[in-house]
Symmetry: C2
Subunit: 874 residues, 2 copies
């Protein structure tokens, strides 16, 4: 059977989101619910995939199917494509499986040409409307399909307004617009060498191709990478009959949420603009009105919309984000989708939906993106400092949280400053999808234009980044890089602070404090804890982090990196003395100085963890990391240590490594210098004994890093066990402890059955496993991975999201092999991946005991673990 | 059933070599053949293993079994252990499964004490003999068992000789020896704090323990590492009744081979010393007589020995190396084993044994150690240069080949000099097992003392290192580091040349030329080629190496490293220009300059390979390797390139990598700069077309290195194929080529099924796979691997011998996965492991198509491949 690539909204099976994309599926669903949806058809994601397989050509059979469905659409609408007497105009929009707002291209008013526009003017008796639509179409089509002239067209409009002495687009009349049309077409021909296409069918295929192509535009690739969307999914294309919100003052357009996307409050929330097309609202060029005001303008339309909104929310059992258009008083539903929302709103909505009996606890767990929780845990302003500060201006509270940083006016400058380590507030007239990288790099985003549903607001909420939008008080000069607010001037690099929960803007740096967590949070997280099976531990190298993590619900320390304790100022001299030692005795003497520090640190961590298990990784980095490299510093150190410069220099030189990542580190240090492992064991065991005397039951887990061969582990374990047992015996106490290893070397993963003979637990060090498994170091790969993303060789950063296919295969092998020799082996992950939701799902699936992540990621991991459990039950 | 740890020679099953060790098995076999073997028993290798499991304690049950067997031995010999009236004295010797000559400890004359020695003197009526035996025993026991006083004892003997005004040990009389015994015992007590043990049973257990312990002495560990002997094997211990070659002039001892171990000539070959113990012959302190002379001394013993020798050779179907002792005219066989031999002898013997009908071709193939062939391929002196040279002295031609280098007098100095890159001739009075590392580091070995079976000679032949032994003309002063020969003085660092085939020594540097290969070699290698299934290719980066390899029987190029072509003086400027290019156009312009060089190189290699396949690996190393690093060189280069210093310096700095091994290299370069792959493809395809026009059928195999993900390969392959196909089309010719990849990244190994969808062949880059798989770089690991060997964590260098268990598991996985998607995939190995026999056997077993190695290793690989095939048939 021939594959079907095109479905009418009225015939599509709306459960097939992979095929129809989200927008297409929802249009089909609304159609079947009997709502007033402008009819049309969806070209499937498979057509997009086929387009790329066919080397970016749309196959003839697909084109034929599109034309067939165009004819069906003509029958449904009773209008004809390209017919000046009864013209059918269409919009062409992308619609991927997952929502990618603003990432791909849209074309409105397609089907217009010099004849049709005349007919349209006649039919609507509105010449201005007809030519405005035509001018918009030429502008969009040129930009999107042919990549011609966007900024030049804007300039032409500005010139025209200047000549006429007007300020608003709407003040241009039909004749002005006619002139603009002619100028746009001339520029198109000038740039492309061919006439602007007048055949609507040619326009249609060009537009479909443009949407397919936009799936792989750079900003879409970045967005997909950030949101874990595979490029193989492709996008669908929706061709829909146009309805016009810009047909005069009885027409309009708007967007609304069934609940407040910032707070979750159960109340219709949105805005509209009369005599406008949808892009006017989203682009934030004019500031729209709150949805309630629609009552005053068009009560029928308002009531109808409210009813639809309720129906859709019940139907989808989730908060909906809808677009509508009113054409000559008649309401049309253009789109519905599960609405994006802040973390606080997500929690509120999830909890409310359960209380309203609409969804179960388990379903509620799936309604909050774990990554969003980050926002709840983010800093707020220090209250006292805030009291002392006076806002210089106020905008819309578009995405909650507080941020403080230096002002930058372009996405590029923001990105650069972020790379230099600065905290950045991106200040823009309005943002556009091109700004995405700069937005990611910023602590906060401030715009002068646009509403709560403007690009800046939607994207910032999605990222959990603080945003104040539509602050009309600001006069921004992006070219000269400054802004003014009520006469105060701020230049690039000046500090400001913004509050995304209030909309306040402060002309100074205000210190921030940690987030506090609300009741919804605890209730929701209790559901998460009830339904998850994976334990969540934390990575903590000091008592403070351990305490923080316990507050966030950590159930143990999965990784305590002991070397961090040696870098502190009061310890590093002894560490350096140890490194330059020439004899075992000298080395032991230096280690003896480190022992009390290390023991005290462990005591603090054990106390903070209140009897939860603590995994302590023994010294891991190469020793040269503790020594200076440039001659001046060596000179100074030599003086401090009372060593001849030449001798110290020679020692440091002898420690040089070509590839430190693959050098003398991890358990290799303990093999060469077992006395280091002896000292560390002593510190761990003595600390555990001391804290146990206080009434806790500490079970230290000693972790030997970088093991590649069972003999390495055997050697070091023997040192650990003989040291520990001697101390325990001498102390005359009972103390349990275990000895395990990191699995971070590929060879260890494939020989995990053997290694499990000695190791009582495995902790997957997926950072190093990724480095060794891929054969590239994180530091060095950063440079060339940019080429990999650009050329779509990699879709995501394997250091942020575990590569489940390859590195994950090694992990899975190690799990199976390890269990084959030690069925009850404790299995964890302690790489940075441990806080990544997709990795956590993987860990759940392959049967790990726990994940470990930084304290602030603990709640994220708890929720991700619960989601994994719920998903796997299905 | 209780395990049996001790077997009498007369009851042991000689087929159980793993249990009895080689020496023990052969003693049992000779006993069952009815030969006059001094009886005794073997303590099994399992007892040794148990000893280590029990933390270096001999279990009581084993001690009891030893004592039981001692009693049986007393019954067999009719003598009693510790009985002054009829004393049983024993030797205690190690005997591992594989022969490890001189590596472990031996104790003779055990059972003597102050009473027994008196009885022995009476019984033998030879007081001097009795006390000489006693003094030897105390000396050996102290040294071996208690690690006391060897050099001090030697000094005491020297003092005694000086006082007496004599030069030979044999000139000391019974009273002198008595005094020495007293002095030795006093020193023992002084050093150890306890009396020298007088209880023979205590002596025996002490000796057994010493042998077990010697299994793990540093030189044994080094030897095992060099010879791929696992430490888990352990050693057996043979306790054998003493017979005495030092009982006067009707006694003696000797060693002999059934055929000449240097040439393979079928003629008894050996030497003996009258009135001596075995150690006197082996240690080379006195120069012994040729075996034929034994006729004159003791015709009966001679005839009997000849008969035994023939019988043993037929029995074992191999050349035998035997030790015998004559005690008062009665011949005793002390040992037989397959004799070590030179490569030339090994070939000759293998071929002769086939011609004599004793063995089959396949068996013959197993009789030559592939590594030995190296010696046949080693340089000989340039004939003309040799004619002009006059020897300064002549010694025994102990191990064939020619060598030239700087003189060093200690193993340590030789090792150091070798590390500095010097060619070394190690000059020693005599060598001992402690010298093993220095011997390995040397081009040639020259000794003043010892015969053809001295330590130096045996070890050098085993290693294929040139050796001249027993050159009495030399006066060597090891302390002051010079030697004199006929009045000429040579200091440390002076050049000499030695000829291990003639025994000539030259006081100058004589140039060497390549080896030429004899008829036996061709005949033997033809058998190897007939029986092997694995193909053997070579690694060659230029036409010269390719030609050399073809002469040695290579069947293609398995690895042509194209970057080597860019380092040459006429090319590197264009390479550097390419690297500093700022635009694609600049880069292409620079690459265009490299194209003709590369094309010409490929043409040369294709011609040399005469239609055999050639695998060309595309640019692999990081680009910074082609640029200077220090400011002076950068300054000079900037001048040459007409670039500002700062700009060039900045470019070089930007290329700096933290871990170059894991950086921007391999296919990652082609992803960033596809124009490099375009140029290389152009060079390969144009060269192939040109050479094909000469009538050859070149099938180039283009190999993309460092692939970790199928998408990388897809991207680069697309560049290669589109470039190649365009050239082929333009040339209007037919040309086959294939595109494959190295499997050298662990992730590629575990995803090989996917990668095989694109790769037409795999070549295992086991160097990098070992580095990434173990997570250590070869350069950096060298330092800490010494600790790993010393602590027995590693037994061999994983860069020399493929780690079959871990890295091999990855290779095997990749083979299976690769075949699962592409059943006919061509599979090779091109790391340095490709020339290692044990690795080759592994490659045969897992079903690779070919191995590739350096030209000089090709014959080794051919033989190793044949052996693998023969072994796997069994």
């Amino acid at each position: 059977m021939r594959k079907k690539y095109v479905y009418l909204f009225s015939e599509a099976d709306s459960s097939k989101r992979e095929l129809l994309g989200g927008k297409g599926a929802n249009l089909a669903e609304m159609t079947s619910l009997g709502m007033p949806v402008p009819q049309g058809f969806t070209i499937t994601t498979e057509a997009c995939t086929r387009y790329y397989e066919d080397n970016e050509v749309i196959a003839d059979e697909i084109i034929a199917e599109i034309y067939e469905n165009m004819e069906k659409m003509e029958k449904i609408t009773g209008k004809n494509f390209g017919d000046p007497n009864n013209p059918l105009l269409v919009s062409v929009r992308s619609g991927a499986r997952a929502s990618m707002p603003g990432m791909m291209d849209t074309i409105l008013n397609l089907g217009l040409n010099d004849e049709v526009v005349v007919g349209l003017a006649k039919l609507t008796n509105n010449e201005r409307f007809a030519y405005d639509s035509y001018r918009r179409f030429i502008q969009m089509y040129s930009d999107v399909v042919m990549e011609v002239g966007k900024s030049y067209f804007e300039k032409l409009i500005d010139q025209m307004k200047e000549e006429k002495g007007v300020t608003l687009d709407t003040e241009l009349d039909a004749d002005d617009l006619k002139k603009l049309v002619a100028m746009f077409k001339a520029e198109y021909k000038n740039a492309k060498g061919t006439d602007f296409p007048s055949d609507p069918k040619e326009q249609l295929i060009g537009a479909v191709k443009a949407v397919f192509r936009s799936w792989n535009n750079p900003r879409a690739i970045v967005y997909r990478r950030m949101n874990d969307i595979p490029s193989s999914w492709g996008t669908a294309v929706n061709v829909q009959a146009m309805v016009f919100g810009n047909m005069g003052e009885t027409s309009g357009t708007g967007v609304a949420f069934t609940r407040n996307p910032s707070t979750g409050e159960k109340k219709l929330y949105g805005e509209f603009l009369m005599n406008a097309q949808g892009e006017d609202v989203v682009a934030g060029i004019r500031t729209p009105q709150p949805i309630e005001k629609l009552k005053e303008v068009s009560l029928d339309a308002y009531n109808e919309f409210v009813a639809f909104a309720e129906k859709l929310e019940k139907h989808y059992r989730d908060m909906q984000d809808m677009e509508f258009t009113i054409e000559n008083k008649k309401l049309y539903m253009l789109q519905t989708r599960n609405g994006k929302r802040t973390a606080a709103a997500a929690l509120q909505i999830a909890v409310d939906l359960v209380d309203e009996g609409l969804i179960t606890e388990k379903e509620a767990l799936l309604k909050v993106d774990p990554k969003q929780l980050d926002a709840l845990l983010h800093p707020q302003f220090d209250e006292n400092a805030l009291k002392a500060a006076t806002p210089i201006a106020k905008g819309l509270p578009a995405s909650p949280g507080a941020a403080c940083g230096k002002v930058y006016f372009t996405a590029e400058d923001a990105t650069e400053a972020h790379k230099r380590g600065e905290k950045v507030i991106l200040v823009r007239l309005e943002t556009s999808p091109e700004d995405i990288e700069g937005m990611v790099a910023s602590e906060g985003i401030l715009t002068a234009r646009g509403g709560m549903t403007s690009h800046a607001a939607v994207v910032a909420r999605g990222m959990g980044t603080c945003c104040v939008a539509g602050c009309g008080d600001l006069v921004i000069n992006e070219d000269e890089k400054f802004f003014e607010a009520h006469g105060l001037r701020f230049n690039e690099g000046d500090f400001i602070s913004i509050d995304g929960s209030t909309g306040n803007i402060y002309g100074e740096a205000i210190p921030t404090v940690e987030a506090t967590i609300s009741g919804n949070f605890d209730r929701f997280m209790a559901w998460a804890d009830k339904h998850r099976t994976l334990k969540v531990r934390t990575n903590a190298d000091n008592p403070h982090d351990a305490e923080q993590a316990i507050k966030f619900g950590a159930e143990g320390v999965g990784l305590c990196r002991t070397e961090h304790m040696f870098f502190e100022a009061d310890r590093i001299p002894a560490m350096r003395e140890m490194i330059v030692s020439k004899t075992v005795e000298q080395r032991k003497a230096a280690l003896a100085k480190l022992l009390p520090f290390q023991r005290k640190d462990f005591e603090g961590i054990f106390r903070a963890m209140q009897g939860h298990p603590v995994t302590i990784r023994f010294l891991d980095p190469p020793l040269h990391e503790f020594l200076p490299t440039d001659n001046k510093d060596i000179q100074a150190l030599a003086k401090d240590m009372g060593l001849p410069f030449d001798e110290l220099k020679a020692t440091i030189d002898s420690l040089h490594e070509f590839n430190p990542m693959m050098g003398h580190r991890g358990c290799r240090l303990a093999v060469s210098y077992p006395e280091i492992a002896e000292m560390q064991t002593t510190a761990v065991i003595e600390a555990a004994i001391a804290v146990n005397k206080e009434g806790m039951k500490v079970i230290p887990e000693i972790m030997i890093p970088l093991v590649g061969d069972i003999a390495e582990l055997q050697y070091v374990k023997k040192v650990v066990v003989s040291t520990a047992d001697a101390i325990i015996k001498k102390a005359g106490v009972d103390l349990e402890y275990s000895v395990g290893t990191m699995i971070e070397i590929p060879r260890a993963a494939v020989l995990a059955d053997e290694i499990a003979q000695e190791a009582e637990f495995f902790s997957f060090g997926t950072n190093d496993l990724t480095q060794m498994g891929y054969g590239f170091s994180r530091d060095d790969a950063a440079k060339f991975l940019e080429d990999y993303y650009a050329k779509q060789i990699f879709e995501s950063d394997p250091f942020e999201r575990l590569d489940q296919k390859g590195i994950g295969k090694l992990v899975e092998m190690a799990v199976k092999l390890g269990k084959s020799t030690r069925p009850n082996i404790k299995l964890g992950i302690c790489g940075e991946h441990g806080g990544d939701p997709s990795t956590i799902e993987f860990c759940h699936r392959i049967g790990l005991t726990y994940v470990s992540c930084s304290p602030f990621r603990v709640p994220i991991a708890r929720l991700a673990a619960a989601q994994a459990a719920v998903k796997c039950e299905k």
